[in-house]
């Protein structure tokens, strides 16, 4: 059982970095939440936990316009992208996503909103502890594009004034779903 303190720390720091944390407790609740948040197109790449629970079907049943193909064409107009998370890092409030599959990258870089499904079991204390699963990912696959994501995109380049939302997403939503997955090597 992951230390509740660790989960609380992750939540606190992630919020501090501008992420919205939503403990949803189940896929059904997650889908309901998403239906309220997303009125436009939702990009849904293929990821292990999503496939396992037929997220695509559930989202469509809830009336969401789900796109699963031709992301290069659809991504720029899409409102949101939905992915899983391989694991999270508590001390910086960060998410680690194995994004070698281009669709994961397109879904998480172009739309204005990024939603993630995170099992709170998959949280490590800090960036140095994260190297264990990172190394495993490198060993398992000959090529990698692994993304650490901490809050939405930001800049302070104009007069040092912090502005949220630049080229990447403007909003990041972390849906906490216990029991979703305990495997760091899958999303």
């Amino acid at each position: 059982m992951r230390d509740q303190q660790l989960i609380d720390r992750f939540v606190e720091v992630a919020k501090g970095a501008g992420a919205v944390i939503e403990p949803v407790e189940s896929i059904v609740a997650a889908v309901e939440y998403l239906a309220h948040q997303v009125s436009g197109t939702l990009l849904l790449p293929s990821f292990a936990s999503g496939e396992r629970y037929d997220i695509a079907g559930a989202l469509r049943a809830a009336g969401i316009n789900v796109v699963t193909e031709d992301f290069r064409g659809a991504a720029d107009q899409a409102e949101a992208g939905l992915t899983g998370v391989n694991f999270a890092i508590a001390d910086t409030g960060s998410l680690a996503l194995e994004s070698t599959d281009e669709d994961i990258r397109l879904a998480t870089t172009l739309p204005v909103k990024h939603f993630v499904l995170l099992d709170p079991e998959k949280i490590v204390a800090d960036g140095l502890e994260a190297i264990k699963p990172m190394r495993q990912m490198h060993e398992r696959s000959p090529r990698n594009y692994i993304a650490y994501i901490t809050g939405p995109s930001r800049t302070a380049d104009i007069e040092r004034v912090l502005t949220i939302g630049v080229h990447g997403p403007k909003e990041l939503y972390i849906l906490l779903i216990p029991g979703l997955s305990d495997d760091f090597l899958e999303m």
Partner: protein
Amino acid sequence: MNKQRSKEYRERIGKALATPKLQDALHKFGDAYLLSREKAYTGLNFEEMRGKISEMKTGVRENHTELLDQFITNAESAGAIIYRAKDADDANRYITELAKRKNASLVVKSKSMVSEEIHLNHALEDAGIDALETDLGEWIIQLAGQKPSHMVMPAIHMFKEEVAELFGKETGKEEPAEIEHLVEVARGQLRQGYFNAEIGITGANVAIAETGGIALVTNEGNARLASTLPKVHVALIGIEKLVPTLDDAARVVQILPKNATGQLLTSYVTWIRGAVPCDGEEKELHYVLLDNGRSELAESKHCQDALNCIRCGACANVCPVYQTVGGHVFGHVYIGAIGIILTAFYHGLDNAAELVKACIGCRSCVSVCPSNIDLEEIILHLRETVGDEEGIGAGKALVFRKVMQNRKLFHSMIRAASLLQKPVTRGERTIRHLPLFFSPLTEWRTLPAVANTPLRDSFDKKVQKIDKPRYRVALFGGCANDFLYPELGLDLIEVMNALDVEVFYPKDQNCCGIPAIYSGDKETALELARQNVIALMDEEPDFVLTTCPTCAMALKQNFVEHLKDLPELSDRAEKLSSITVDAASFVLNELGGAGLFADAADGKKVTYHDSCHLKRGVGVWKEPRQLLETAGFDLVEMAHSDRCCGFGGSYSLTSHPHISKKILEDKVDDIRASEAGCVAMDCPGCMMQIRGGLEKADMPVQARHTIELLAEVLRKKK
């Protein structure tokens, strides 16, 4: 010395000093940065972290060939195409030829200082290829046709009104000068570029030998897009960016954002290993590994630590000179302390020569460097190199080599000056106005007159009656104590005698040599080290006391370094180093003497100024405070208590008086805001600067040496 180059440089300084908006922005940033940085390191041990980074990066330099080979092998087996570029031209040629082969008309770039270093955009444009910067700050300066003025925030010197005007030209309509709106405009304008470009060019914050991959530390999301959408990805990597393992990379990633912007972590850290899928095919991935002077830098024993830099920009953030004149003056392509060093090796000594002299020597950079690089020491070494190449100037050569090395001649000239100065001192201890072309020297602060009787003459006249002395100590007065403030030395005798310590003044002591080092004259410094070690150790004192921390640094560190290859002197230099101590620390730690002064002061409000060389040179800042508090002063801290006062030796007098003036203004403002009636410090150089500034500003605040205050308290007690 290049007169034209010097003239142009001074004009740039003048322009920067005439833009208070820039200084205001950089000062505010410096303050905000320190607060968020402190917060980011909560619960962490910065000293320990930077020790590990330093060790790791030094190992990288020492094992560079093997690590580079390992990186290349792993990168190639993951599908990367490697090009080892010798220099800027070589890298530019490779990239432009690649772009031509791909029929690329547009290249998108995420932020890369290396690409600035080699002027890549110029080379591409010359070849008819558009290079679009996507990092917001870089795009802004690209539109403005300017170079970055900071390594992490390139457009820190620009204001929203200017940005709105630039963007308006791009969009063809008037854009409101509202920051959130302007960022939205940039998002919209740059988006299509990612789709249209044939090539995406990024830098790399680390290159990991273990995996053959790189990591990019970013906030905006543009590096993710630039490395995903275009069919070709070129990563421009300085060969010093290597780290051995993923764990080492994690340590760099852990410290870099905290030190750069005070963030716990940037919004994105992107770990790319090999050629990843791209629109149904495989990305064409090129790593351009750039040397451009890095191998030469690795060979330089004095400067090689500079290769440990992880490009956080903190050295500029905390630099009082940078905060006063900005990166376009205190930099070339790379800015701040590290910028000076890299400019010398990557862009040539000629481009670094003026910059090398513009460092005031306050060591604030050294205190925040996450790779523990002694940046100031390296800059002083480069100043010596410039001195060797170009000469140190006829005036200085005369003073240092012909006069100062001959102690008797040097001191008799100062005595002569004390007589000749009468027309301008009019018998007073301070000079308020110098005539004719000397008048700028006293425009913004008064100067002390040369004392009628230097300390070395009045010393023996002071009666020291101690029955059983605990210790017999030598006083190393230093030029300021000896010739400007002899009363400080006499006060020290009083304090010491009250604690049963006998003091003597070795007459053959000469200038400590730091002014020569700061002017690039190693030869004179060496000769002075020799003279002083012999003079001070002759009567085998128990301790050697200093009232000037610059002198303390010379005795504790420089002399040992200068004389280490002279067996007949090196032992004595080591011994001297071990027995040298600043007066305040001696009173508190060695003598346990704080109690003697207890509650003797009348609760007078005092604030404390930390001299650069006391705090960041010999590591003392608690002792004077403890003495003052125990003595019953009401100690109130001023803002920026450890920020330089602007003295810097000849910096304030001859080399950069205008920058010195501005830095002094900041210090006087902070003293005023503290509402203390007295500012204490442990350095006669700072005394000269701060006293002079307070007097010129007609502020009734006293500037006193801690020892002076303690002596005063003793006299009151009697």
